[in-house]
């Protein structure tokens, strides 16, 4: 593809893939879609704070093509081909499901088209394969679990015994492995008791809750999300699980608005970044938080932040490439070169493409506890602690699980 001169009429066609239906739509897909629409609208108006004041991508208006991620990996592979070959999008950006990310990455590579993964938890994407045209602009699940265990250690949370409940697929299994391994590093005497892996979408957890309450562990860890997490909380609270064990959830910020006072106070949770109610004050964060809330009537949670940082990263890469090529619309290869190893500020903090030869991001994370606020009728997050990106993410060239099991060598936590 040859670089052509960019003009005011020229657009940047951006394929966006996110769940618009199915179990992940409400929790992640729709907030991501809403976030993308807000950011693209603001970028096209030139209303985003510094350093993103320039209209669109380097003066080119962004033209989004939004596709539903629901339907399984086979469908997504076909949809990705359609986006590149039929819709002629310049870049595809999106994907929430780890299974979909693993399926579409090789296709983009085969077609030599740029693919920006905005979410997906599994570390396996770049730890088990090498890609030139694929990037992930958010940290993987290792950060969530190392962050949780570091937080618990810092707050002197007792964890002689641990039980876990996670969905029986890539996200649940990888999260469980990382959390248990990190717990065994910082709590060498911890004993794993009940270890449950119900199927995705199980919905009813009566028996699992009996097993967890019966075990009476100091800590119950879970990477459940969406409707499954809400059902688990609704069913376990009246049975006394939060009173008997400290609940620790790795990705639970998105269930706070719908659950409200049903969310037990004192639950330790992560949001897969320093996002939403745990985000730190900055002009960029104020812009996203207040702007998104004004448009959508609810504050932004993790998915909205993740797609925002992804779009802003792509903008930074496009404009970096344009500086280098004399202001022309960049070719795919120019864009790939600009994105590799890039750093850019986002509402959730600095994003650095430091892993997988500059293709995988690391970022800071925040962990906190829940406390219901009856005046505002919402769950607030208190006792927040922030962890630097290099404290909770593995260094380049080391597999996540090996890094954790090796004692998290080289972590920079101050």
């Amino acid at each position: 593809m040859l670089a052509a001169p960019a003009s005011a009429q020229e657009t940047f066609k951006l394929g966006i893939v996110t769940f618009l239906s199915g179990p992940a739509a409400d929790s992640f897909g729709v907030p991501a879609r809403n976030g993308a629409q807000f950011v693209i609208d603001q970028l096209n108006k030139g209303s985003v704070p510094s350093p993103y004041e320039k209209v669109g991508f380097g003066g080119m208006k962004i033209e989004p093509v939004i596709i539903d991620e629901n339907g399984g990996a086979t469908k997504q592979v076909q949809e990705l081909r359609n986006l590149y070959q039929r819709d002629n999008v310049d870049v595809v950006l999106g994907y929430i499901s780890s299974g979909d990310c693993l399926a579409v990455a090789p296709i983009a590579e085969e077609l030599k088209k740029m693919l920006v993964l905005m979410d997906c938890g599994t570390p396996r994407i770049f730890e088990e394969a090498k890609y030139n045209y694929v990037f992930r602009t958010a940290a993987h699940a290792t950060m969530d679990n190392v962050g949780l265990v570091r937080y618990m250690k810092a707050k002197n949370v007792k964890m002689d015994t641990l039980s876990a409940i996670n969905q029986d697929y890539a996200w649940g299994q990888d999260s469980r492995a990382d959390f248990v391994a990190a717990a065994q590093q910082l709590y060498p005497n911890v004993k794993v008791q009940t270890d449950l892996l119900p199927k995705f979408g199980a919905g009813q957890y009566g028996t699992e809750i009996s097993a967890l309450v019966g075990a009476g562990s100091d800590v119950v860890y879970s990477s459940l999300w969406g409707g499954d997490l809400q059902a688990f909380i609704l069913q376990s609270a009246p049975r006394g699980l939060p009173k008997r064990s400290q609940l620790v959830f790795s990705a639970a910020d998105h269930v706070l608005p719908p659950l409200g006072d049903k969310m037990p106070d004192g639950t330790i949770l992560g949001a897969r970044g320093a996002y939403g109610l745990m985000s730190q004050k900055s002009p960029l964060n104020d812009w996203l938080f207040k702007g998104y809330e004004a448009v959508n009537g609810v504050y932004p949670v993790q998915a909205a932040y993740r797609i925002t940082q992804s779009i802003l990263g792509l903008k930074a890469a496009v404009e970096k490439a344009m500086i280098k090529n004399g202001g022309k619309k960049p070719s795919t290869d120019e864009l790939v070169a600009a994105m590799t190893g890039l750093e850019w500020p986002s509402p959730g903090g600095l994003i650095q493409m430091k892993l997988a030869d500059g293709h995988q991001a690391i970022q800071p994370i925040a962990i906190s506890r829940t406390k219901y606020n009856p005046d505002l009728k919402r769950v607030d997050l208190v006792d927040i602690q922030y962890f630097a990106a290099e404290c909770v993410n593995p260094p380049p060239g080391v597999k996540s699980i090996d890094w954790i099991k090796g004692g998290m060598q080289g972590a920079k936590c101050n």
Partner: protein, 298 residues
């Protein structure tokens, strides 16, 4: 001891709602000889309707007990209407055709109802938790249980007994059994078979929807609800023997207990356990535990 009591109680809670779903499936098969794939959709429909009824009642500031009654009434009315409409408007056109044709028709209904629920209630999870707190919490075997879950056990027992009693001890039930055993003879004796079919199908839909409604306050209703249920209820009726009320009860209890025991003792084998039971039963009794007696025709 407490440990085994916990497994039994967890298993019975699980079995209670599964039994009601499977009962509807087995009733429809017993009378109409239809393997009704759409059965899971009726479960989902019941759950969504119940959630709507509960939400409407709660929005008017009425107590959860009113919501509970409203959800049962709304499910009974709408599910019966949908059942009659489908049986009279669609299924009757395919009677006498190959069983596979009817299977495909009910699969088509399943797909249509999936889209209908999305069209009406959207794709986002829906909650209607108010009735879940209705019966408080009770301590049993050293654990707290939600009273609502425990109440499901007697409800399912009553529903099961009512269907059994209706079939075996009432005139209408005897007529239904006559149709099951020999449709031609029943017709010659003046039985209006079409009416029996319509009522049996409506009852099947009602039972699926009732199970959905009773489950609604403790789960999130979202797309995909119907497919999980249909797999489980098919497993139960296959274990129990297609068309048998007693078989559905025993199948549901077996599946519930096996699942509970597995979660407590061997969590990794939980999904496999149901199919293990099914395979074990079918190995020794290929037609299920309670094979229906059929009259030999001369």
């Amino acid at each position: 001891m407490n440990f085994f009591l916990t497994i039994i109680l967890d298993g019975l809670i699980q079995a209670s709602w599964l039994f009601i779903v499977a009962l509807g499936l087995t009733l429809v098969f017993g009378v109409l000889k239809i393997l009704n794939i759409a059965h899971g959709s009726f479960y989902a429909l019941g759950a969504y309707i119940a959630a709507t009824a509960v939400t409407v009642v709660a929005a008017r500031g009425l107590p959860p007990s009113v919501g509970f009654v409203a959800m049962l009434l709304s499910v009974a009315l709408i599910a019966s209407a949908v059942g009659l409409l489908l049986e009279r408007g669609l299924l009757k056109m395919f009677y006498g055709r190959d069983e596979v044709v009817l299977l495909l028709v009910t699969y088509a209904v399943f797909l249509i109802l999936e889209d209908v629920t999305k069209l009406i209630w959207g794709v986002n999870p829906i909650y209607a938790t108010q009735p879940y707190e209705l019966f408080g919490n009770l301590e049993f075997a050293g654990l707290y249980y939600v009273g609502y879950d425990l109440v499901l056990i007697p409800i399912s027992a009553v529903v099961g007994f009512a269907i059994w009693f209706g079939l075996n001890r009432t005139v209408i039930g005897k007529i239904v059994l006559a149709v099951i055993h020999n449709e031609e003879m029943s017709v010659s004796m003046g039985v209006r078979v079409n009416r029996v079919y319509a009522i049996a199908f409506a009852f099947g839909v009602l039972l699926a929807a009732l199970a959905g409604a009773l489950t609604a306050p403790k789960i999130s209703m979202q797309p995909g609800l119907s497919s999980d249920v249909i797999i489980l209820s098919f497993a139960i009726v296959v274990i129990g023997g297609l068309g048998s009320v007693e078989g559905a009860a025993v199948g549901a209890i077996l599946v519930g207990l096996a699942r509970a025991a597995s979660v407590h003792l061997m969590p990794q084998a939980e999904l496999f356990m149901i199919y293990l039971i099914m395979a074990a039963v079918l190995m020794f009794r290929p037609e299920g535990l309670f094979k229906r007696e059929t009259a030999r025709r001369i």
